[in-house]
Structure formats: structure tokens, C-alpha cells
Chain length 422, copies 2
């Protein structure tokens, strides 16, 4: 089964946004065993959209159109699909009812603008996909043996329809081999070091295969197996997952589909422990990541963001002489951790301080980071390093190092204790 | 002059990377007054690359091919261009000398692999662009009146050639129209309401044109003007920018190239005021966004992330009876704001509380949000609303509403004061 993605939106051609939707859809389709052979992007121009659809339908079994289903006049994907199919747009009262019902529920937004009524029309003969998050219905139709789907360009609305409706449909149609991917996630080891330990597995394996993917502060090893059934594919993947784990050791923080923050929350939950943070450098980023996970409040209590030296003293009680010695120091990180532990009354506290750059900060070179933990037993541990790269990279590496320190502590990895300065 | 971008690389079709090169090139071309009408992406497949080139050359004056110029066997853009042009590849000894010289300079890399010799061949009749950073020469040729350029896919190698050689050439050829885009950013009004107020401008304008772009919690209105000089284009755009501003009023938070958090920090700086936050729902997200901006510490002091009811009392002194009335309430938001103001000793404090979902929280339906500000003069104001959508969308809308409240207060927009409950 060959698929092609057609992105619609002048903002893509003006370079105002990158087409991250095409990336996501391609990854999902590849994971479902469907080959994506072409991407196209066109502007909000009826003729060019029709031209792109004609080309895509001439060479692909499935065409996914993304964008241009909104309520404004430059949203013309509906019209273009109707023109391509040679059918009129048909107004559906039940879609109007659905739209009005949504606006009633979102009463804070006010009455439904008339422009939203455009979203109640679909090309004659097309099915629609009812939106959960947004207002734009997705579209599904067949034209001369090609399946054509249209989804909104708003990323979470697009993902909802691709993941919830379209992929299951296509996967059932494709009928064949099932692909299972297992991802091992690694914190605290670089891509080339990971690759070196797995070099022979990488070069000798065909099913399952191994691939690497480095993103900010994390390396992923993907083990992909293909078989007639999901169970067979999983059974093929499992020994390779175990082998990779054994070779890499405790830098692998998960082999499940979870983020580092989810792993930390899972360990906190299973250990019945609570966590608070003290954040300088990261400005609240660790708290934001933890609380992005539903149910975080069972273990995560809060975070004292203390961005100035004065706030570190005032809110966390970091002593004057520690502050005088510099805020990007082991002593300051440790004092922040014990301060947050006591302020929030938690079992474990994590502190993060550093110089994000581009300028040096309080005597520390850009990229300098200190992370520290303190627990209710009095145990403390700190770790310092210098991260390369720009401001957001330094912050991201600090978050990863801090969360990974909590993860290791909860998993019982032996960390050398440190003592607070007098 | 119409341009088209053809990206080559199977990694794009597998979704391993987003095509940020096409975004960058499009932005640069638009800035030089060249219309980009289509993007295509194809894999490392000779036939499909030739097909994409043929299509692009049939409808564009300029075709920019990106990627596939590297030294490995799957780098076949050179071959595809030669096949499309119907000419052989010709080996150039001076390119070999250039390559060997580079490897000599980078002695740490070791001797030049033989595979790099592929990069010394170019389609017969083509010019080449000597690379500064990398090893891959760019290519330039004319085929039936279409100008075709090929550049490497490594971003900084691509940028060097586009910016240094290709754009100056095209700009000279285009004879000069310059495109200027102005972006107005809007918080607190939905896309369709914005579009309704501007409907006649949208439909009647050809130069400048108006377009909308909605992203999470924000609507952008883009005004694009085209003229012989940058100054003329700016002069054309300006009255439309002023008209849009006048119609939309104070929901426009900027007409400059800045984010909402940058606008808030700019206003804090120019007013000489300091800010702290109290975050429940957003978990540190507001602090993280503010501190992502370099220099934030001049105005932003910190944020008390208080994710549990107990932490709200313990850290911010929210009274027992307020907590008993529910943490997602006007009273709790106001008490959090005054608590943060006093804890951090700042001029203005912003508090955010809510039910992110998917479950109701403390008696409040998913999506319920309260934001409040308190300033050093004793003024307080709160605003409640229900956001639609998933957890991260609710959090994002809360951040936007909270930051926008601070922005309005600093801009002197009259907000009705509220009093704390006894």
C-alpha cells in the first residue's frame, strides 16, 4: 500500500512553519507498515490543490490531505476535494447540530460565528470523521480506487483523526505483516557511545532491526520486528530488547512507551514517595514536564522556581554565605534541595541551578549545571557538568540530568552521598 | 518568478525528521520577493527524483533541490539531475583537488574515503558551487529555461549556498520585488471571531494581502505587501496593519516579531516592575516560558508551583477555608496571587489554577481555569473560563490567559478590581 501526503497552507510556502504534521503522519504510517512515497505542499489556492490531488491520486493508494478545513475563507480544502471529485458540496444539518453543540459547551468562547457553518458542508458522497477536540470534521472518500482522507492542520486535531480512525482503517486493509517497534530510552549516554556498544547487533540484524534516534538529552534505540501476528513480532523483538538492555545497563531508563518524567512518576508511585523541586536555571520546566502527565499530583507536590539570588534566600532559605559563594555551585544546589524538601515537606527534593547562557552567570561559564537531590533521611547528592550548546539545550540537558538523578535514586542505584557545607 | 522546492531523502518519508530546510528556504525566498508555489519530498529513488524534477521544471522558473549530494551510495541527486537533463556525469579533477585539500585540513578525520570521489562528478554542462563548510559541491544548471539548483541537505551547508550564492543570483534576476510580512498576534480571541471582524479586508485586498494562522492559544494575522523596495513594501503594509489593529483593539498584543512572554518581559522592563507567579494547573509552564527568554531575570523573580492543596496552604498561605471551598475557584486564585506577591516580594503576581482534565478536579469540570493578578498597591483581578480540549491545550490556554492578563494590566487596560473574600 502506497501513501502520499498533501499539505495545504500558504504558511508552509512562506516558510512560517515547518511541516511537522507530515513528519508525524509519515512516522505513524511507516510504523503501520505503509510506504509513504511522496510529500507535497501547496498553498491555499483551489487550482493548485486540485492539481496536487490529481497527481497524488494517480500514483498512490491512499492520499492524506492535511489542512484547510477551518472556518475561514482561505480554508478551501473541502472545495478543492469536491472540484477534484466532480461533485458539489452538500450541507448536513447534523454537522451543524454537532458544531452548535460544541459552541454551547464552550460557552466562554461565545456564540458560534456564522463562518463555522462552512464546516457543516462536505463533498457529496464523502463520509466524515466527527472531531473530538476541534470543530473541523475530517473527510473520507474513494475516487477511482484511491482512498482520500482530509484532516485538519491543527496538530492535535490531526493526530486524533489519524490515530483514532484512519490508521486502524488502513491497517485492517493492508492485511499483511504486523510491525512491532520497541523503544529503549537512554539518559546520560551519547549516541555514538550507545552505537559503539551495539555495533555488531546493528550490522548483523535484519529482523528485528536496530536503529538509533538522538533527540535533546536522550537517545532512543528502536528494535523493529515484522511477523504475521503481533504476538509473533513481539516474540521476535523481545530477546533483542533484553540483549540491548544487558549491554547498556542502568542508563536505559525504560523499555516501555514512557517519557523520563513518566518513569519518575511511576517509580515515585510504586515507592509511595513524594517529590518537590527547586528550579533556577530551568525556570519551572521540570514541574511543567511532570505535571503534563495526568495524575502527577499523586506524587508531585510542587516546585519552587527561584530565579534570582534573593528569591533563593527568601523562599528556600539558602544561607547568605552560600549565595555569596555563587548560585551556580554544588553548595547552592544542595542548599536549594534541602530547602525545597523542608518547604514542601516531601520525601525527595530535586534542585537545578546553572548558567543557561549566552552570558556567564554569577561567575559560572555558560553551560555549567549543578543538580542535587536531598531526601527525608538526610541523604544528599549533587552532580555538576558542563553542557554544550545554546540556552534551550543547556536547560533541556539539566532537566534530563535532574530527573535521571531522581530515577536512579528511586531505583536504588548507589550514588555517593555528599555533606552540606557547614 | 515562481520557485519550487524538491527535498530528497527517505528519512523525510519515514518521518525521522521534519523538513525544516524547506521552511528556511521558503522564508528566504519570500523575503527576496520570489513566490514559492510548491514543495515536494521524495525518497532516495532515481525514478521518483526524476519524476519530481520533471514536474517541478514544468511549472516553476526556479527549482531548488535539497539533499542527496553526500558521498554515500544512497546519495543520487547528481545522477537524477543528469538523467533528467539527458547528459552524462563528468568527473572534474579540480573538484577532486578541492576535496583532498579539505581532508588534509581536517586531518583529525583521517584520509579521504574513496566514496567522496563521487562528489567530484557533476552533470555535463552544470556549474558548481564550491562548498565552504562541507564537502558536497552545489550544482547550478539551466534546462529548457528553468534554473535548477541543487544544494546539500545538511542545514548549515544548505544555508551557506542559498544565502551566499543562489539568493543573490535570483534576486538580481527577479529585478527586485520585495515581500514584507507583518504579523499581528492576538490572545483572547478565536480565529473565526478575528476573521469575522476582518472579512471585508480579507476579500477585497490584493496588495497587501491578509491571512490567518491559529496556533495553540493564539491567532496570527499576517499582512503581506509586495513592492519594488523594502521601504515601499513597508509603506504599503503599514496602513493595513493600523486598520487591523484598530478593528481588533487590545486583543492584539504585538505587531512585532515577539512572543507573548517576550511582550510581557518587555513591558515589565519598560515599567521597571517585577513579576512572580503561583502555578497550580500549569505546573511551572509559565515560569519555563518566561525564563526561556534570555535576560528574563531582570524582571522575573520566580514561581511557586503548588500542585496540591496542602502546598497551596503551606507555601503560599492560602487560608484553610478558601481551600475548603475548592482549589479551582476565584477565591483560591486570588489568594494564590497575593500569597506569591508577598512570598517573593514583587510588584505583580500572577496565579493560575484549574482542572486540566481528563477527570474533574476538586469539584471543577475539566477545562475550568481561573487566572488572577495581585499587585503591590493591593489591586487584584481574577478571570475564569472553561477551555475546550485536552490536558495540554487547557494548560496552554491558561498560560496564554494568565500572561495576557499581566500584559493588559501593564498596558493600562482597565480591569475591574475584585476583593478577596473575608
Amino acid at each position: 500500500m502506497r501513501a502520499e501526503i498533501v499539505a495545504v497552507g500558504t504558511e508552509l510556502l512562506l516558510g512560517q512553519i515547518a511541516d511537522t504534521n507530515a513528519r508525524w503522519m509519515s512516522e505513524e504510517l511507516a510504523g503501520a507498515g505503509i510506504d509513504v512515497t511522496n510529500h507535497q505542499a501547496v498553498g491555499d489556492n483551489l487550482e493548485r490543490i486540485v492539481e496536487a490531488l490529481r497527481l497524488a491520486a494517480s500514483r498512490a493508494d491512499v492520499v492524506l490531505v492535511c489542512g484547510g478545513l477551518g472556518p475561514t475563507e482561505d480554508d478551501i480544502t473541502r472545495d478543492a476535494i469536491a472540484a477534484f471529485a466532480g461533485v458539489p458540496l452538500v450541507f448536513h444539518a447534523e454537522l451543524e447540530t454537532m458544531l452548535r453543540e460544541k459552541f454551547r459547551r464552550w460557552s466562554a468562547i461565545g456564540a458560534m460565528p456564522n463562518s463555522n457553518l462552512r464546516q457543516a458542508s462536505v463533498p457529496e458522497g464523502a463520509d466524515w470523521i466527527v472531531p473530538d477536540r476541534g470543530t473541523a470534521p475530517g473527510l473520507a472518500l474513494r475516487i477511482n480506487g484511491t482512498r482520500l482522507y482530509a484532516v485538519p492542520g491543527v496538530p492535535d486535531e490531526m493526530r486524533e483523526m489519524i490515530g483514532g480512525t484512519i490508521l486502524p482503517e488502513l491497517h485492517a486493509l493492508a492485511g499483511g505483516d504486523t510491525i512491532v517497534s520497541r523503544i529503549l530510552r537512554i539518559a546520560g549516554m551519547g549516541e555514538s557511545a550507545v552505537a559503539e556498544r551495539l555495533a555488531d547487533l546493528f550490522s548483523s540484524s535484519t529482523n528485528p532491526t536496530i536503529a538509533y534516534l538522538a533527540s535533546m538529552g536522550e537517545v532512543k534505540v528502536r528494535v523493529t520486528a515484522k511477523a504475521r501476528s503481533r504476538a509473533d513480532a513481539e516474540a521476535l523483538a523481545e530477546p533483542m530488547v533484553a540483549e540491548v538492555r544487558a549491554r547498556l545497563g542502568d542508563v536505559v531508563f525504560t523499555a516501555e512507551d514512557e517519557t523520563l518524567e513518566e518513569a519518575v512518576l511511576r517509580l515515585l508511585g510504586s515507592n509511595g514517595r513524594t517529590l518537590a523541586c527547586a528550579e533556577s536555571l530551568t525556570g519551572g520546566g521540570v514541574g511543567a514536564r511532570l505535571t503534563a502527565v495526568s495524575g502527577a499530583s499523586a506524587s508531585f507536590v510542587g516546585s519552587a522556581v527561584v530565579y534570582t539570588a534573593e528569591a533563593k534566600g527568601r523562599v528556600l532559605g539558602v544561607p547568605e554565605d552560600v549565595l555569596a559563594g555563587g548560585t551556580v555551585t554544588e553548595a547552592c544546589a544542595l542548599a536549594m534541595a534541602t530547602g525545597a524538601r523542608d518547604l514542601y515537606g516531601v520525601d525527595i527534593a530535586l534542585a537545578l541551578t546553572g548558567a543557561a547562557g549566552p552570558e556567564p552567570h554569577d561567575g559560572a561559564a555558560p553551560g555549567t549545571v549543578w543538580v542535587a537531590i536531598a531526601d527525608a533521611s538526610g541523604f544528599t547528592h549533587a552532580r555538576g557538568f558542563v553542557s554544550r550548546g545554546e540556552r534551550d539545550r543547556v536547560r533541556r540537558w539539566a532537566e534530563q540530568a535532574g530527573l535521571d538523578l531522581v530515577r536512579r535514586h528511586l531505583e536504588g542505584v548507589r550514588l555517593p552521598g555528599t555533606s552540606l557545607p557547614e
